[in-house]
Symmetry: C2
Subunit: 231 residues, 2 copies
Amino acid sequence: MNAAFDLSVDNVVFGFDGEQLQVLLIRQGLPGVDMAPDRFHMAVPGDLVFPEEGLDQAAHRILSNLTSLDGIYLKQFRAFGAPDRVFEEKDREWLTRIRPHPERRVVTIGYYSLVAMADYTPRPSSFASRAEWCPLSDLPRLAFDHNDIVKAGLLQLREDVARESVIFELLPEKFTLGQLQRLHEIILDKDLDKRNFRKNVKRMEGVVPLDEKQEGVLHKPAQLYTYVRPQ
Amino acid sequence: MNAAFDLSVDNVVFGFDGEQLQVLLIRQGLPGVDMAPDRFHMAVPGDLVFPEEGLDQAAHRILSNLTSLDGIYLKQFRAFGAPDRVFEEKDREWLTRIRPHPERRVVTIGYYSLVAMADYTPRPSSFASRAEWCPLSDLPRLAFDHNDIVKAGLLQLREDVARESVIFELLPEKFTLGQLQRLHEIILDKDLDKRNFRKNVKRMEGVVPLDEKQEGVLHKPAQLYTYVRPQ
DNA sequence: GTAAATTGGTGTACTTTTGACACCAAGTGA
DNA sequence: TCACTTGGTGTCAAAAGTACACCAATTTAC
C-alpha cells in the first residue's frame, strides 16, 4: 500500500471595494494553447506545497506567485480531502498537463485572506494566469471543489469577524464609518442600525478619527478614520 | 521534484469524569519488543489516511480501530504541517518500524472529539496499543508535536462551547446541573456563578429535568437532567 | 440659486442580559 | 445531633443591545 498524497494550499482572498465582497480568482490557460472561453480554469489561487516548506509559508508563497500579493493576513481554516474532490473531466485534463503526478490524490488546506482592494489591484503574474476580482454574489462555477472552499471560507470569516479585528484588513488605510458598517453588513449578511453601530465603534479600540474628510463624493463628505492595532 | 506526502489524522478525544477534563492517549509499544517505560510512545490516537477514504471517514475509522470508540462527535479543527514536526530520535525510530515510508513528510489533520467517560471505558485494542485516559492537567510529553495538537484542540473546544451544544457530548446521559457547571468551568478555565449559570441553563433548549435524583452521594442528592437535541 | 438626491451624523428610552451576592435544604458519617 | 458537603433559590444594579427620526453637507439637474 503506497499511500502518497499531494498536498496543496488554496487561498480564498476576500476583497472589499466599499460596496460588496469580492473574491480573487485566477484564470489559467495552458501555455501555448488557445482555449475556448468555457474551458478556462477559474479557480482560487492555490498550488502544491513544497516538500520542505511549512503550510503557512506555502500559502504565502503561492499567493505571492500567483497574484503578487505579499505580507497579507492569511488564516488556515480547514482541510478539504474528499477522495473525489477533483472529478470533472475538464479539471482532470488540466491537471494532467500541469502536474507531475496528475493521478495522485490531492488534499488541500484552505486559507482565507483579506485585502483592502483599494490598496491593491491584482497584477497578472507569471505563467499564463490572470488574477481578477469577482463579486462573491456572482461567482462562476469554479474548478475542483473551489466553490465549496469559498463558501467554507466565508463562514469562517463570519465567525471570526465577531471576535477579532480581522475586518480592518479589508479596508483601505483611511475609511469612513459608513464603509465599516457596510462591510460588517455584507460579511454578516444582515442589516445593522447606524446609530447603534457607531455606538459600538466608539467602544472599539484602535479606530481613530483623522483630520480629514472624504472628497469627490456626491453627498456630504464623511469623516475619515484609520485603524491602529492596539498595543 | 517528487513531492509526496503522507497524510494522517490525529484525534484529540476529550473526556469528562465529573471532575476534570481528560484526554485519551494510546501507549504503543513495538510488537515483540520489550521497551523501557520511557521509550513507550504516548500519543493521541492517529494514523495514516487511506488512499481512497475521506478525512472525516479516516478519523472515525482510526479512532474506532485504536480505541473502539464508535459514532462519536468528531470535528476537524486544523492541519499541522511543519516540516520538522517529527524530529525526535525516539519518534523517528518508531516510525521507521511501523511505517512503509518512514522518511516521508507527514501532514496531519487534527480532529477533536468528546466522549462522556461514564459511557465508555477505553478498551485496549488490536495491535500492541493501549488506550488510557490522562488528565489534561497532567499530560506527559507526547510523541511528535502531539502536545501542540492537544493544546490547539482545547482552544478550539473553548471557542465552540460558547456557540454550540457540543458540550453535552461530554456528559453521561443523565447528569446534574452541578456537573454541567463544573464541565463549563473546566473547559473555559474560569469560575461561574451558580445562580447565574442555572438561570442560563433555564433559557437553554434541550436540557430537561428527569423524574429522578442522584443516588449514593454523600450530600443532598441532585435533580438529574438529560439533553435532547432540539428539533 | 433652488430643489432634489444622497449619505453623514447625532441621542434617548426601553428591554434584555449579565454579574454580584447569602442563605436554607437534604443527604452522609461520626 | 452535629458537622460536612453539595443542591437549590431571588433580587438588585450595571451594562449591553435595540428601536427609532431628524437635520446637515455636499453634488447634480433644472
